[in-house]
Amino acid sequence: MSFGFQLVHARPSRTTSLVLSWILFCLGVSLYFYTSQRRHHDNPEDRVMPTLTQMIHGMTNASTTPAEDDDSTAPDNASLRQKFFTSMLWKDTVATSRRFIYSILLLIPAVLLGLHMGLFPYVGAFWLRFILFFDKIVALSLLPILFIVFGIDELSKIMLIVIGVTPTIILDTFNLTKGVPDEQIVKAFTLGASDFDVAYRVVMRQIMPRVLNGIRLNLKAVMLFLFAGEMIASTDGLAYRIALLRRHMGMDVIIPYVLWVALLLFLVDLGMRFLNRKLHPWFQAG
């Protein structure tokens, strides 16, 4: 049956695709400001849907003045740059980024473990069953236990991310390693390679672009666990601020913060994609 136009074989022009892809953004933004306008018309004190002016004001404050609970204040005659580096937004971003970087660094041993499990049968036999079990534990359900065991400082938050994300990365790397054709490994041995040459110079280099893509897909999970930890027990960080501002309905800062986090994550993802292309020019997806 035909509708008179093609669906699968449709060929929208460049302009049409561009226009189509922005429609939902425009619709969402205009709907928001329309509703916001209406609410402020009815009640000038409305805090649920701040106007653009209010959000700009809130963010200007957040990026030039320290948080209320922060003692270190910039001198009154400080430059804008100095003000920014003592501001609430900057300090929160630094705190969250630090935790994020630690968690990404902790994924390196996970990748190495997955590689060895996939390549060396003894290592695989030792770890695989345990990791499969570990993978099924709902990491957030461990949160109270982590707070009891590790206290409520940095360690427990990082442990939450490790427990939540590393099993996925280990198993992903394991499967990728298993997926390397036998011919490649046999070939490397016939060329005089040792077991470790095969592991690091043949197999690891081949799976690396796919591993990086796997990590990119898991960035959201990393952020999810990081935010859960920060919201429940922390004294700084972007998610801590969002949770704190919720108490006095600081939507004028919460909404820009959410967008800021999305932007940061987008940039990290973009950076990793760029890095992947630069490091592995031979790799074509698919």
Binding site: K187, F189, T190, L191, G192, Y200, R201, W282
Partner: protein, 269 residues
């Protein structure tokens, strides 16, 4: 003494055991060009994997230079049909990989001596690239940028770069178009004559086997549940005359097709 000695080799896979090879006895001399011929699924690739050491036989043993090998190593080079090249390395990187890992381990490759030696290895690799008929500007291409025939050329150069005594080729030309295939057959004959390497070449193409081999071994099964055995072992007169090929093809195809092998008593050089 023979270079490769296969003694009473039997292989079975799975449960219940399904025999693949049944009591194979062969001895292969240094400098032979042996073609293993047989129909699809007759176990010729399995036999190659056993010689390679990638798989372990259920019964019997394989001696290379009088010694058993339990995993693949530098004595036997390998050119498979697919996945022959490392996709993450350039043509040059693929060819130098063997000599580099042979001489340097993960740590010593960063010593000053390694750097100067690496330059020599690279120069030698460039000579190989020239010899297999590639342009020197192809040296920095990645395998996916090359045609199938070019990839197999590089794979052969890569295998020969470590100077193995034995070269094992598993349907190495089967995925190539006829013209390229002919060129590759000429190339491997030439390299075999020049280097004196012992070649074991698995193929299902009778003409290819006759054109290439100095010796053709046909594997076939008595019945579908039986393991394959050597049904014909033929030495090809050197050089093999074109007009002899049709008769030989007829004989060999009869041999690998039917269960019982006819006695072939001619054609020793």
């Amino acid at each position: 003494m023979a270079l490769i000695e296969i003694q009473n080799l039997s292989v079975a896979y799975g449960k219940p055991a399904r025999p693949v090879l049944d009591r194979i006895n062969l001895s292969i001399d240094d400098g032979d060009f042996v073609c293993l011929l047989g129909q699809t699924g007759c176990g010729k690739s399995t036999l190659l994997k056993m010689i390679l050491g990638a798989e372990i036989p259920n019964k019997g043993r394989i001696l290379i230079d009088g010694r058993e090998h339990h995993q693949p190593d530098r004595t036997r080079g390998y050119v498979p049909q697919k996945y022959a090249l490392f996709p993450d390395k350039t043509v040059l990187g693929n060819i130098t990989f063997g000599p580099e890992v042979t001489e340097f381990n993960l740590f010593t490759r960063f010593t000053p001596r390694a750097f100067s030696r690496r330059r020599e290895i690279r120069d030698e690799a460039m000579r190989y690239i020239d010899r297999i008929g590639l342009h020197s500007r192809d040296a920095h291409k990645y395998p996916h940028q090359l045609s199938g025939g070019m990839q197999q050329r590089v794979a052969i150069a890569q295998a020969l770069a470590t100077h193995p005594r034995i070269l094992l080729m598993d349907e190495a030309f089967s995925a190539l178009d006829p013209g390229t295939r002919k060129d590759m057959q000429r190339l491997i004959r030439q390299l075999w004559r020049d280097t004196g390497v012992t070649v074991i070449f698995v193929t299902h193409n009778t003409q290819e086997a006759l054109y290439l081999g100095s010796r053709v071994i046909v594997l076939a099964k008595d019945s579908p549940d039986a393991g394959a055995q050597v049904v014909t072992d033929l030495s090809i007169p050197q050089p093999c005359h074109e007009h002899q090929i049709p008769t030989l093809v007829h004989h060999l195809e009869h041999a690998s097709g039917s269960a019982r092998a006819p006695e072939i008593a001619f054609a020793t050089a």
